[in-house]
Structure formats: structure tokens, C-alpha cells
């Protein structure tokens, strides 16, 4: 459940065995405490003393850890989060897919600060599992309507001038379970198919220049090397704009889950076009209409027609505190926080409502405000214990305003699956808990 190098598996097994005997409602709390115990075991503190030590560690007493030595360097050659944070993890919704191979996991947005998603928490979406690729055996083929078809190794790709950009990556099915009604009981599941990282690689335009694109070229096929051989048609216009051939993420080589050793990355576009484990780019004069741009990733409207090549992730936003995972524990001052983004450029402003959209207040944008990146917003508020219906509404630099559910449904019906970016509502109850609702 929380596999951490060094944490005694026996202890963890005991914790989860104990947990399974506990009333489900109390289980979460129990697990947190159990985890603290397991965490204590990691640094070698005797089991029993940790439990009774809790109060001894508070002022005016000198905490346990101040009176002893901790672990030395390279105890964890590749550092891991604190064992106390074992609940910050990707989660899946088993009933969404037939198995875990062609499946989805979600980023725990409620637990994150700033705009960068740690690599290990980036949501996962695979169609044939994560392949194991030896980088020495990796090749990228670029061919089709080009003067000189070429094959590149990783070393080759790294010799080209590189580009780094901070961009979000979002599955177009993010929130897709909510088209008909509020369904999921956590932010992780209503919005967690989005992450934002720093991506480094070579611009696809540089590679296209190197092979020499023929004048009749209009489209590029990107194809993965995993068992699904995921393939998508990408207009040449985008490929020559900001499409990256990425080999690094947040300063280190791409994670296997993110396409190690090389993926294509289309900033602002539906995540499925950013094909992982990329093996081949073919230049052509027409789109290919493969499964992932016909059967899937087309947006069925109420009249039975479907939108195709709907690439851009339109502006969206959500309040990340308070939210179901982060209720209010007492009355008083708080800073509401949230995330906004747009595949069309920068976020221009975000407004927040506490009364279900009757009145709005402008939030402030915090930290970096970058195009096609997560943008954090916040708003100070005082909670007097009254129930509220909390919403956020983003506006991007093109002037596009995030739509209401009613507007989105009026335009598209309820069967689109993809590109659900409606204003989201959290219901804050008088006891401080928060639930997901849809309102009129």
C-alpha cells in the first residue's frame, strides 16, 4: 500500500491487517496513525516509545529526534518523500477499465502546492502497460514525405539544441465521469487527470528541418513503441510551432510511466497526442484516422455527430482548498487555493464564488503565470460556519471564459466524454466537510 524502501514490510502488513478490522469510516485516520508508527520504524525508533512519545515531543519538552542521530547520507541514494506522507499517492478507480493495463490513475491535486507536479505523482494513462526500454536500444525514426529519412539515438537527440518549457499535461477525459451528474467524491477523481511539469527536449521543428520536409507535407503521425503502438495524427502547423520531442521531466530523465526514454509533447493539447515511448514520426499529406482519433478522442454531441481533431484543452479551473480531501476544521481565516489552466495560452484572471455563482470575487494569481501551464490562484476568506457553494471561473488571454455546466450541456449534450471543462461546485457543509455537487 505504501511501499517505501527501508520501511519494515512486517510492520506495514501489521498496520494494514489492523486497518482491515477497523470500521471503514475510521480507517483513514487509523492508517495515518499506523503510518506514523511505520515511519518511526524507518529511523529505528523503538515501536512502543513512539506511541507514548507523542506528547513528550511537544514544547516545552525536547523531541526525541533532537536527542538522537538520524540516518546518514545515501541511506536513500534516490530520495523519497517522508514516510509520514504515504497518503500522497496516485489512485485509480478500478471500475473505469477492464484491468490495470489499459487504465488510468489520478494525481492527488489536493495535496500539492505550487504548479509543478512531482514526477512520481503525474497521472498515468496506459493502453498496454509501461514498457521497459533499454535506452541503448532506443531509436526514433523520422520518415515519410521528407528528403532524408533519419534514425536517431538518445545521444543524437541530445546533441540538438534543447528547449525547456513548463506545461500542463491533461487527459481530455479529465472529469469525463461527470458529464451526466456529479459522480466522484474527491478532487483527485474529478480533476486528477492533469499534471504540470518542466519538460526538456528538442523542438520537433528542428528535427523536421534536419530531415527536410517536402512541400506537400501537411500531417505527422506520432507512434509509440509500447504494445498499443498508440498513434495520433498531428497537423504540421502544430509540429512546427511548439511540439517538443522530450527526454527529460522535472530535471531528470523521463519517468518510465511518462514515456522513458522519449515522448512527443504537444503543449496545451489533449494528452493523448503526446505519445509516450515514441518510436516513429511519419510525415504525410493526410491524417490517418486511427483508432485514437475516431473510436476514441472524438466528442459525440447530442445530435449524434461528433467533433474530430478537438486537440486544444480549453480553459478550466478548480478550487483545491477547501475540497473533499481538505475540509475546514474550524471557523476563522483561510486562504482558498485553486488551479487554473488553458491550452490556448496564459490565464488572465480567475473569479471565485461562495454562493453558487450569484456573486463573484476576483482571486489573485500566485507565482508563475505561464502559457499552457497550471496557474495557482488564491483568495483570503473568513469562514463563519455557514454552508457555501464554492466555484471558480477562469478566463484565459484569448478572452475565453470557462463555461457553466448548463452552457456546456446545451452546446454538447451529455455523451461527449471528453473536454469537460465546466465550472465546478464544491458544497461546503456547516461541519466543514466538502462534497462534490452539480447545481442549477
Amino acid at each position: 500500500m505504501f511501499s517505501k524502501p527501508g520501511s519494515g514490510p512486517a510492520v506495514l502488513r501489521k498496520v494494514s491487517q489492523e486497518a482491515s478490522k477497523v470500521d471503514p469510516a475510521k480507517r483513514r485516520d487509523f492508517l495515518k496513525k499506523g503510518l506514523a508508527v511505520a515511519g518511526g520504524a524507518v529511523v529505528g525508533v523503538p515501536f512502543a516509545s513512539t506511541l507514548s512519545a507523542a506528547e513528550n515531543n511537544l514544547p516545552p519538552n525536547l523531541p526525541e529526534w533532537s536527542r538522537s542521530l538520524g540516518a546518514g547520507v545515501i541511506t536513500n541514494p534516490y530520495g523519497m518523500p517522508s514516510a509520514f506522507e504515504g497518503e500522497i499517492k496516485r489512485r485509480t478507480v478500478p471500475w473505469l477499465t477492464a484491468d490495470r493495463i489499459a487504465a488510468i490513475s489520478f494525481t492527488p491535486l489536493a495535496e500539492l502546492d505550487g504548479i509543478i507536479t512531482p514526477s512520481g505523482l503525474v497521472f498515468e494513462r496506459y493502453h498496454a502497460g509501461v514498457p521497459t526500454i533499454n535506452p541503448d536500444e532506443y531509436r526514433l525514426m523520422l520518415h515519410g514525405l521528407v528528403e532524408n529519412p533519419l534514425i536517431f539515438t538518445i545521444d543524437d537527440l541530445r546533441r540538438f539544441p534543447s528547449t525547456t518549457a513548463i506545461n500542463f499535461l491533461e487527459c481530455p477525459a479529465n472529469g469525463g465521469m461527470e458529464w451526466r451528474a456529479a459522480q466522484m467524491d474527491a478532487l483527485q477523481f474529478t480533476h486528477g487527470m492533469i499534471s504540470c511539469c518542466e519538460w526538456t527536449g528538442v523542438l520537433l521543428s528542428t528535427l523536421l528541418e534536419e530531415v527536410g520536409v517536402k512541400p506537400e507535407a501537411k500531417w505527422i503521425l506520432a507512434e509509440g513503441s509500447d504494445g498499443s503502438h498508440m498513434s495520433r495524427s498531428i497537423p504540421l502547423e502544430k509540429a512546427l510551432d511548439d511540439t517538443l520531442i522530450v527526454y527529460a521531466q522535472n530535471g531528470e530523465p523521463l519517468r518510465p510511466e511518462q514515456g522513458y526514454p522519449v515522448r512527443i509533447f504537444n503543449p496545451g493539447w489533449e494528452g493523448n497526442t503526446s505519445v509516450k515511448w515514441l518510436r516513429r514520426l511519419e510525415v504525410g499529406d493526410k491524417p490517418w484516422y486511427h483508432r485514437e482519433e475516431t473510436s476514441k478522442y472524438t466528442d459525440l454531441l447530442a445530435d449524434g455527430r461528433a467533433r474530430k481533431f478537438s486537440y486544444v484543452q480549453e480553459s478550466n479551473s478548480v478550487v483545491t482548498f477547501p475540497c473533499p480531501e481538505k475540509p475546514l476544521k474550524q471557523k476563522g481565516r483561510y486562504e482558498l487555493e485553486g488551479l487554473a489552466w488553458s491550452g490556448s495560452g496564459k490565464i488572465k484572471r480567475v473569479d471565485v464564488s461562495f454562493d453558487g455563482g450569484v456573486n463573484w470575487r476576483q482571486a489573485r494569481l500566485k507565482g508563475l503565470v505561464l502559457p499552457k501551464a497550471l496557474t495557482r490562484f488564491s483568495l483570503d476568506f473568513t469562514w463563519d460556519g455557514s454552508p457555501a457553494l464554492i466555484q471558480s471561473r477562469s478566463v484565459d488571454e484569448t478572452g475565453y471564459v470557462q463555461p457553466t455546466f448548463a452552457q456546456l450541456r446545451a452546446a454538447r449534450g451529455e455523451s461527449s466524454i471528453y473536454h469537460k471543462n465546466a465550472i465546478h461546485t464544491w458544497r461546503l457543509h456547516a461541519d466543514g466537510t466538502v462534497t462534490n455537487v452539480q447545481i442549477s
Binding site: 478507480v93 533519419l150 546533441r159 521543428s205 472524438t298 454562493d355 475565453y400 452539480q438
Partner: protein, 305 residues
Amino acid sequence: MSRLANRIFVVSLLVAFMSALPAWADSHGKAGQYGIGKAATAEEIAGWDIDIRPDGKGLPPGSGSVEDGEMMYEEKCASCHGSFGEGVGRYPVLSGGEGSLTEPRPEKTVGSYWPYASTLWDYIHRAMPFTQPQSMSDDEVYAITAYVLYLNDLVEDDFVLTAETFTSIEMPNQDGFFLDDRPDTENTTCMEDCKDPASVKILSEPTMVTLAAQEDVAVTEETSSVDDKVYRQACQMCHAAGVAGAPMTGDKAAWAPRLEQGREKLLTGAIEGIGIMPAKGGQKQLSDQEVATALDYMIEQVKQD
């Protein structure tokens, strides 16, 4: 800067800017400027170049009949997609759904939704069977593709699919798609009294319990005298973790009120479906007897002792 100098400056900037544009159409001159990468040989390209287009470009020589496809499909595909393409469990449905696209629960299948037959050949060859992608010969792909088309009433039972006969197939929903024309919504940034407070009503709240369910995926390994095969195949996915509010296996408190209804009532619920639980847990192919076996296993896990 004087106005003239200013203008010259702007013009020269423009020229500099334009010549720096990555104008792909005339990039011939610059091709190979880095000299990085190795030329791809025709043979190397042929090995990887597997894509098929709607106009048939990319289809290899070969052929396969509906008749040949039937047996191959039964052997390689039916375990997940069902003998008639109806889908087993949550595995994709490959046939049916005609005319359902405007219904509240549209069924998007090869026959009801896919615009091009080329996509089917391409995808089956590229990714199926799921556990052994690209393990089939071109003739096998032709035959199985023909059979899936047949399951969708798109070809007759004596049809033989080749690169040539391929163009004769008409997909019913070929004209059902249009190019992205968004934005298709227009909201405003109204700040005050944007709607009547009395009009704000809760329309829906979640029925799913997902986060809590995740906390305990670890299934307790208990030995049981009752056969758990069906349970593992069809019920565990929801009942082991309490997905979607399903009473958790082994959770006596959750089962107590249900058990009071008696086994017969529970069995009816399991066979016909109850609340969010689909009939037989979504596995229509199970016999009532098999569902009963699974139920008995679940009941045994919460027996008061």
C-alpha cells in the same frame, strides 16, 4: 531615432525575422545542417511503417475471408470481446449500437460509430490481441477484420477482404464527424447578482465511494470451503474494496442488514442488479448458478461465528 531611421530599422527587423522563420516549404537547403542521425534504410522503414489510411495506403498484399476469420476470432478475441462482439465484463464491445448515437446511453462500436474500415485493420494489426500485439500474419488480420465487419452486418458471410475489396466497404457513420469548431460556449465575467439566488438548486451529488475504497486494496487472504472462482472473476473488482458503495466482502457490519433479507432476496439482487450494481456484476454470460456460488462465497466471509 528619426522616423526614417525608425522605418528602416523596422523593415530590416522584419526581413531578419522572416528569414529566420522555420519555413518548412523551403527548408531543403537547410536539411542536414546538423549532420546528426543515421540515414534510415528502406528495409528499416518497412519493418516499422505499419500505418494504414482511409484511402487504403499502407495495406499490405494478402486476403482473408469471413469464414476463416470466424475461427481465428473465436480463438484469439472472443474471450474478451465476446463471440458476437458483445464484450465480456468491461472489455470493449465491438458490434451493435446502430442508431444509438443520439440516445442517452450511446453505444459506440465499429458498426455504429467508426468512420473508416481502414482503422479496424490498422488497430487490430497494431494492438490486438491485447496480450500479444503484432503477433498475427497479414492474412490473419485480413480474416479477423472481415469477421468483425461481418459481426457488424457490414459485409456478407461470403466476403473476402483484400486491399482491393476493402474500398467497397461503406461505414454507416462515415459522415458523422466534423472538424473542431470550438469555442462553442460563451460565458461572461458577470460579478454581481448574476442569477436569482432562489434558482440555485443542487442537481446531483456523488453516489460513488472512491477515495475511501482505495485505502484498503489489500485483500485479506482467507481460505474458504466455498469456491471463489466466480467471485474473483466477476465480483471482487467491486466488492473487495467497496467500490461504488458495494458492501465490502468480509465487512460484517455492512452485510448484517443485507443478510437479514435472506439469501433468496440477495441472490435476486445479484442476478438482476441492484442500485448501481449491474445484473450479475456486468457479466451477462454467467449462469444464475454461478452467481449463486459467488454469493455463497461472499456470505461465508461474513458468517457470524
